[in-house]
Symmetry: C2
Subunit: 167 residues, 2 copies
């Protein structure tokens, strides 16, 4: 178990692409639904993810904001494929680009399918107030905006957002 | 991933105790709630179980009856203890006794806590119509009765059943 501290931002331009040094295709889904988590009927999300040629089951406690308990269990890819069929809501597909900037590694998620057009950049930190260099291509912070949670994107993808929500 | 075929029975007497050759203490809970599974809002139960000195995360597809998809992932016991705190509904605690009879191994679950007084015997089979020897202590079959599901026992324990339900 780890405590996860991450901050999430939009991107202001495509300039991150030139600095990306790796890309991993990802497909993921959730065994429980966003409404159950949001209502407090359940305390943790249970995610199935295939990333490249490996797979994981990932459990996160539901606290909003930057700090959550996180558990990650390796999973055979065959099992992950079967589990994705048991998921509720849509699957979230994306390409995760790794972009080093200063001392930190950014994960820039370029969403596909029903979430195509959405690009977000995440950084994992050791402390909530940790200082980090802001790259030029970084846009507005959306860490606290629940509609950007992958769990929410499975239930209500970017293609269904209105203009105000897209910002 | 395995396909699980199991049948569940009440016990008609305590005679199984003399034949029990091992006992494992178990504590388990569910990250999703029985109502979400029952309503079809979710397709699989996600169980955390500590059994003796090991722990597992177990995912079962929600089909009622004897055949279900089952996935079992080993889990560090420390993580399991943290995850039990994220579970919804009550914890289910029991002693699992292993009882060999003929060619089969029975698991006799003696429930504790809020489910004290309930004892059920389970057998795992290779086929739904597999023939097996019925020990003298075996009672009525309850495989299809959802209130005996451990998931249901977490939400509505035996102590809250009325006389008709206890049979």
């Amino acid at each position: 178990m780890g405590i996860e501290i991450e901050r999430k931002f939009l991107v202001a331009s495509d300039a991150w692409r030139a600095a990306a040094h790796a890309v991993v295709p990802m497909a993921q889904g959730y065994l429980n639904d966003a409404a159950s988590i949001a209502s407090g009927a359940q305390n943790a999300s249970v995610r199935v993810r295939i990333e490249g040629d490996v797979a994981f089951l990932n459990i996160k406690s539901r606290e909003a904001g930057t700090t959550r308990q996180e558990f990650e269990l390796p999973l055979p890819v065959d099992d992950a494929q079967a589990l994705l069929k048991l998921c509720v809501g849509g699957l979230v597909e994306k390409r995760r680009h790794l972009v080093r900037h200063g001392a930190h590694l950014w994960e820039v998620d370029e969403f596909l399918g029903d979430n195509a057009g959405l690009v977000v950049a995440e950084i994992e930190l050791d402390a909530a107030d940790e200082v980090f260099a802001h790259p030029d291509w970084l846009g507005a912070e959306v860490t606290a905006h629940q509609r950007y949670f992958n769990l929410a994107l499975a239930a209500r993808p970017f293609s269904r957002w209105d203009a105000a929500e897209r910002g």
